[in-house]
């Protein structure tokens, strides 16, 4: 062995753990529906709030939830972020915007990209609509929706909408 090598001060210990990952019942229901081009939520029996994706129990009351609700693929932007940095494994063109979007009929927000909208025109309250991949490409993935784009409809009063959602909470 070479005597001229530098002394060892650190070691490489790679880890690659494989999982046959199961996403559970709530998320599977959502993904199976999205494969058919549908967005599903579930209604909390106590608060009436509609969760998207569906969950088996309410995060507020722990009550079982089973009443599925089909949601519109239109919604309103609550808040958002403009990303100017590429990170680990990320393939998106920068800058890009992602937003918390409250779908019509839902109370929880989903996070997704907003495109076909100049960055400076992004705003809370903006109406957006999903842009789907061609239905021949649909799989059980959130990526069936490529992004959301502005609908051109008038803005909605986001503060009022969020206040209404919050008012549904118990206690």
């Amino acid at each position: 062995m070479s005597e001229s090598q530098k002394p060892v001060t650190n070691i490489s210990t790679p880890v690659a753990m494989h999982y046959n990952y199961s996403i559970g019942a709530g998320m599977s229901t959502f993904m199976r529906a999205i494969k058919e081009g549908k967005l599903l939520g579930v209604r909390c029996p106590d608060t009436g709030k509609v969760y998207v994706p569906p969950r088996l129990t309410s995060v507020e009351t722990a009550s079982p939830m089973s009443e599925l609700v089909e949601l519109s693929d239109k919604g309103v932007v609550y808040t958002y972020c403009i990303v100017n940095i590429r990170f680990y494994d990320q393939v998106l063109e920068i800058p890009y915007a992602y937003a918390y979007i409250v779908l019509d009929g839902a109370d929880s927000a989903i996070m997704h990209l907003v495109q076909e909208c100049p960055i400076e025109e992004m705003r809370p309250g903006m109406r957006v609509q999903a842009v789907w991949k061609d239905s021949s490409e649909w799989t059980e993935s959130m990526e069936n929706i490529q992004y959301f784009k502005p609908t051109g409809e008038p803005d909605m009063p986001i503060e009022t909408i969020m206040d209404e959602i919050r008012r549904k909470s118990h206690a």
Partner: protein, 352 residues
């Protein structure tokens, strides 16, 4: 010292692979049913504590998903231990000793080992410089301990098979058990070894599952439960990890924990030992000085199921329910984590 008791226990069936539900979805009905059983609601819980491992779940902050499934609103007082949930029980117990206003605590643990290869995942619990790079699996490590017992002529492979047979026999009366049966130890010994001298029956099953315990203090415990399982002592200790630095025929930390918990001496009707491998059951009997008359692992022990990181908490639950239902008066519960019984927690539970 304030009196704290286990007043209820619940667990999922122990399954090799849960097909439908994720951790949180497995746990939620267990907790709901347990609370209902004692007439409490979610908002009666004053403190919540859990144990789990992100590397078993496959992502960071995995326990947060479980907390969400239990209805943490209005905001709750909550904590989490990375590792075996029996230590979450310890945190809850300490918390209740200090804070008089905390009357009811919920403790839970869960794991879905089926998604990965636990023999490899748990290799990451070793020294990351000297051991993990070789990926020693859990069964091989336990086999080194088994060999040490055989070399010292303290016990035989037959003893290991007898322990497995005892667990499997006890598991027959446990509807939630993953494995059970009436095997003849002699026949078990005809099976091939996986890592000599250990055979399949000496090893823990791979389990998906969740479990939960409810603690209550003083008169609240008495009001909620006819016969609370009072925690008379609870203590934990740790050994050096490296197997080459230990007398593998012993578990010094198990003995120290048992002494500190007051588990040694006195009547022990039942004992639930968290011995992932049968030789460890033998070691624990010796270190905890379990009397001859004690029924060991009435639930089926590790063969009942191994929902890591809840397996140790299940031991506390299985002792507690037998006290609560009057089958036993006093019992010892034990939990462990780390290779070859490195870290141990021991509790003494007693009915009034």
């Amino acid at each position: 010292m304030r009196e704290v008791a286990v007043i209820a226990f619940g667990q999922t069936p122990n399954r090799r692979r849960e097909l439908a539900l994720n951790e949180a979805e497995m746990l939620a009905p267990v907790v709901a049913e347990m609370l209902k059983g004692v007439g409490l609601s979610r908002t009666d819980v004053d403190f919540t504590c859990s144990g789990s491992s992100d590397w078993i779940a496959g992502y960071s902050f995995s326990w947060v998903t479980a907390m969400d499934a239990l209805g943490a609103w209005p905001p709750i007082i909550e904590s989490h231990v990375e590792g075996e949930a029996a230590w979450a029980l310890y945190e809850a117990w300490v918390k209740m000793l200090v804070h008089e206003e905390l009357e009811v605590a919920l403790v839970y643990g869960f794991g879905r080992q089926s998604m990965s290869s636990p023999r490899e995942v748990m290799a990451m619990m070793n020294d990351p410089y000297l051991e993990t790079p070789l990926w020693p699996d859990t069964i091989s490590q336990a086999a080194l301990q088994a060999r040490a017992l055989l070399d010292a002529e303290l016990c035989t492979e037959r003893d290991f098979a007898e322990i497995a047979a005892r667990n499997l026999r006890h598991a027959e009366s446990n509807p939630l058990a993953q494995l059970s049966g009436q095997p003849d130890p002699a026949e078990l010994l005809e099976e091939p070894t996986i890592a000599s001298p250990l055979r399949k029956h000496d090893c823990p099953p791979i389990t998906d599952g969740a479990c939960a315990i409810l603690l209550a203090a003083g008169d609240r415990a008495r009001a909620l439960c006819k016969r609370p399982a009072w925690i008379r002592g609870l203590a934990h200790r740790i050994d050096v990890q490296a197997l080459g630095r230990r007398d593998l025929t012993r578990s010094q930390s198990a003995r120290l924990a048992a002494e500190a918990a007051g588990a040694i001496g006195g009547k022990v009707d039942i004992a639930e030992l968290h011995a992932p491998f049968t030789p460890q059951d033998w070691i624990l009997q010796r270190e905890l000085e379990i009397p001859e008359s004690t029924v060991i692992n009435p639930s089926g022990g590790i063969h009942q199921g191994n929902p890591m990181m809840g397996t140790g908490l299940v031991r506390f639950g299985e002792v507690a329910v037998r006290i609560i239902n009057g089958e036993a008066d006093r019992g010892v519960a034990h939990g462990t984590q780390g290779p070859c019984l490195q870290q141990n927690i021991v509790g003494v539970l007693e009915g009034e």
